[in-house]
């Protein structure tokens, strides 16, 4: 399903933000909020995994229903999961398109990676 990827802050993300390598942070930052109708169309339920793909790559997230999210939009808390698939192009402003990336959302069986694994994927080593 074609979607617009939107990102933003939340209180749970803010309270866990200094503990980025924790499981709590993982479950917050890797949640992908979709309109319940879109969940139905995708044939998945709360807690199932989705693969979200953009021209910059793909990431596996946990689907969560949210009435407030518009149809064909997916909302992901600001952080390493969203950034895994956001393009680094800034169109001469210094600011990437954090709120208007075109994305493809599809159901998957793959597991959600930890923040540490995401960092390892780009050459990091967990402390």
């Amino acid at each position: 399903m074609r979607c617009i990827l939107n990102t933003g802050r939340s209180v749970p993300q803010g309270t866990a933000v200094e503990h980025k390598l924790s499981d709590v942070y993982r479950s917050i930052a890797s949640a992908c909020f979709l309109n319940p109708v879109d969940l139905m169309i995708l044939g998945i339920e709360d807690g199932d995994r989705v693969r979200v793909t953009t021209p910059a790559g793909y990431v596996i997230l946990t689907a969560r229903p949210a009435e407030g999210v518009a149809r064909n939009e997916c909302f992901v808390t600001i952080g390493p999961y969203a950034n895994h698939i956001i393009s680094s192009e800034t169109q001469g402003t210094g600011m990437p398109d954090f709120k208007s990336q075109d994305a493809d959302v599809e159901p998957t069986e793959e597991a959600v990676k930890s923040v540490g694994e995401l960092m390892e994927a780009i050459g990091g080593v967990r402390p």
Binding site: I4, N6, T7, G8, R9, S10, V11, G14, T15, A16, E18, H19, K20, L21, A56, G57, A66, E67, G68, V69, A70, E73, F75, I78, G79, P80, N83, H84, I85, I86, S87, S88, E89, T90, Q91, G92, T93, G94, M95, P96, D97, F98, K99, S100, V115, G116, L118, M119, E120, I122, G123, G124, V125, R126, P127
Partner: protein, 429 residues
């Protein structure tokens, strides 16, 4: 011991009315703060000592070793990037700028990925703003545009707007009209008197439509603009024109979506238009506790608020070229010093990945995603918890952060001063 009037360093509200109970070097209770403040003060876990990445994994090293090695990395680099600065105090920020000038580095702060575009817009058309005290005491119409203060600045509404009793607005909840503009329903939009739900990327069009209506040209507006009915736009324009004092607060919904700084420019020009009828002001809702301070300190030292490049020996500023994401995306820098921030988590993957390819040093009280990409992580004090210093609130008011406890960590300003000294042989008086 109970300390009164403690400042919360977490978000740009810098609430200065917290009450904190300590027991030696431990904080046991936080009063008056929101849940973000509580997490900031209570869940403060840090590394015991600096760590260095080796072939075999991570090893602890001494502060002296970490500092000399960092100085060596910076000395060797041709195009170092110094990035972060928003979650620490002004004293640290200013030493950062001195180091950048000394070694010809690029220095950038986190506004580059939050309100950098707002600053670009302000540089084009100015900033009709005011302090939060004015808003609290006078504003009877409040607009939150593209932001979600309930989640990101939890006490903004109770201290300054919707629920705050003001001198000229004694019955806030009855007297203040709150308008929220967003693409999705949130806890903030649920509190609004008027919720304007716009289509994704429709901000610029809706702002333009409002400007036209305020100008008396409602007849040119189509029945719906970016998903918003014309009647609602006309109603909102009327509410604004009839305000005694209106205040617009905007967030990343404007700066990060298509149009970026042009969206903000349009919002400022709407404010200008409304000020022909009544008094209207506009301000960005700044995120990190002292991100405004990093703009202030950079500006009074270099003339520019962020993205300052000293490679030519003078300060040069060109967002899109000298901004951190662009420098990393192009793979241009050959060393990085990250202070009080987490680009590993907050930058797009391609930009963050470059940090792992070059020697990166992190100076931050907390282990974060960038730690995994770095060579050295040096733990330090957290401004406002175990270090005192100056921070700027989102409306530009400088506030002194207090030192509430002593945990025995060195101040990041002290660490940077030592790095400077090793690079130069002394910082002078």
């Amino acid at each position: 011991m109970i300390e009164q009037d403690v400042v919360c360093p977490f978000c740009g509200c810098l609430c200065d009315d917290l009450e904190i109970e300590t027991d030696g070097a431990r904080i046991v209770r936080v009063k008056n703060g929101c849940s973000l403040a509580e997490a900031t003060f209570m869940n403060d876990t840090r590394l015991p000592a600096p760590i260095r990445r080796t072939e075999a994994g991570w090893e602890e090293i001494s502060y002296d070793e970490a500092i000399s090695e960092t100085a060596e990395i910076l000395r060797e680099a041709d195009r170092p990037l110094l990035y972060g600065w928003s979650s620490t105090h002004g004293e640290t920020q200013s030493i950062g700028v001195h180091i950048a000038e000394l070694i010809g580095a690029v220095i950038d702060n986190t506004s580059t990925v939050c309100h950098g575009p707002s600053i670009l817009a302000i540089q084009e058309v100015g900033h009709p703003g005011c302090t939060l005290g004015q808003v609290k005491n006078r504003a009877d119409v409040i607009i939150y545009w593209g932001c979600n203060p309930v989640e990101a600045h939890p006490r903004h509404m109770s201290r300054y707007t919707t629920f705050a009793t003001g001198f000229f607005v004694p019955e806030a909840q009855r007297e203040r009209t709150v308008i929220v503009v967003d693409t999705r329903r949130t806890d903030t939009t649920n509190i609004a008197d008027e919720f304007v739900q716009i289509e994704h990327g429709g901000d610029y069009a809706v702002l333009s439509a409002l400007r036209a209506i305020v100008r008396g040209k409602a007849h040119v507006i189509p029945a719906s603009v970016a998903g918003v009915a014309k009647e609602q736009l006309v109603r909102i324009a009327e509410i604004c024109k009839n305000a005694k004092f209106g205040a617009i607060f905007f967030g990343l919904g404007l700066t990060m979506s298509r149009g970026k700084y042009k969206n903000v420019r349009n919002a400022i020009e709407l404010t200008d238009e409304l000020s022909r009828h009544t008094k209207f002001v506009i301000s960005p809702l700044r995120g990190h506790g002292n991100v405004y301070g990093s703009n202030e300190v950079f500006t009074w030292m270099t003339g520019y608020p962020f993205a300052v490049d000293f490679a030519r020996g003078i300060a040069f500023y060109n967002p899109g070229e000298t901004t951190a994401v662009d420098i990393l995306r192009r793979g241009e820098c050959d060393a990085a010093l990250i202070v009080a921030s987490d680009p590993g988590a907050n930058f797009p993957r391609a930009a963050a990945a470059h940090l792992a390819k070059i020697p990166t040093v992190v100076i931050d009280p907390h282990v974060n995603a960038t730690t995994a990409l770095s060579r050295i992580h040096i733990p330090c004090t957290a401004a406002g918890i175990d270090a005192a210093g100056t921070a700027y609130r989102m409306d530009g008011i400088p506030i002194r952060l207090k030192k509430v406890i002593d945990r025995g960590y060195p101040d990041d300003a002290e660490i940077l001063r030592k790095i400077y000294d090793r690079l130069d042989g002394g910082m002078g008086p």
